[in-house]
Amino acid sequence: MFIITCPFCGERDQSEFSAGGEAHIVRPKQPTELSDDEWADFLFMRKNIKGVQFERWNHAHGCRKWFNVIRDTSNDKIHAVYKMGEKPPQK
């Protein structure tokens, strides 16, 4: 259990949120030109690193908005939270 600061509602318990997987995965501009392997890479292959990871989260039991989180998966420490469409912080 850990606390997540929703960019809209403020500090809330993790149980109010649902994780949405890795962030900043860009959809290919021409999917029809991709090979099956490249398309499978885009659809299914995700990093699952031990350490700092960029993730999407949804405040499912609150404002129902999506946002991005930079989280260390080894100790659940959250380094930054930023809204959808914003660039991740440099530091």
């Binding site: 500090e11 809330r12 109010e16």
Partner: protein, 181 residues
């Protein structure tokens, strides 16, 4: 077939806690972002929609609750069919925003008394320490794993909105928890 009856909720009293069903009462969900939307809502309801998160505005018998940056719920005794029709014709039909009648979707239960926060703390992950000292705060959270909207409209007085299908279960849970205060 849709069950339109209200759940079997009768007024209950516990030490320093009163539970009461406040139904029927009209509730509308408003969504929109544009300046026109805010102006039209302000003119029709004579109320400014709160733009600050987790806040609400109450004027006379109408309350506007902030739900997300582009979503509000309004409820109150003064919301009648004429007001609803004006909002629909001025907002929905002109595609400025959306107006949805959620009166039958949410059930309003009023909790009153010094032990309100004791009961809520038993089944919610939310930290009520800051919440209980500030009026007109609105919180969407979980209570006994059920989605609820809490409106702190007066000291130790909370309007709790719960989805109708969960309301009887939550009501029984609140009753059961209140016995052990």
């Amino acid at each position: 077939m849709l069950n339109i009856n209200y759940p079997k909720i009768e007024k209950k009293e516990f030490p320093n806690l009163q539970l009461n069903l406040v139904e029927p009462i009209n509730k509308l969900n408003l969504r929109g972002k544009s300046r026109d939307f805010f102006t039209k809502v302000g003119k029709i309801l004579s109320i400014m929609l709160p733009t600050e998160s987790n806040t609400s505005t109450t004027i006379k018998n109408i309350s506007a609750l902030w739900l997300s940056p582009d979503e509000w719920m309004i409820y109150g005794k003064d919301i009648d069919n004429n007001l609803k029709l004006s909002l629909e014709t001025e907002i929905s039909k002109l595609n400025i925003g959306s107006v949805t009648d959620v009166s039958d979707q949410w059930v309003l239960i009023n909790l009153d008394g010094k032990n309100v926060f004791e009961v809520l703390s038993k089944g919610s992950p939310f930290d009520f320490n800051k919440f209980k000292n500030t009026k007109n705060i609105i919180i969407q959270t979980l209570l006994n794993h059920i989605d609820v909207i809490l409106h702190h409209n007066d000291t130790n007085n909370i309007d709790l909105f719960v989805r109708k299908s969960f309301s009887e279960h939550l009501w029984l849970w609140i009753n059961d928890s209140s016995r052990f205060l």
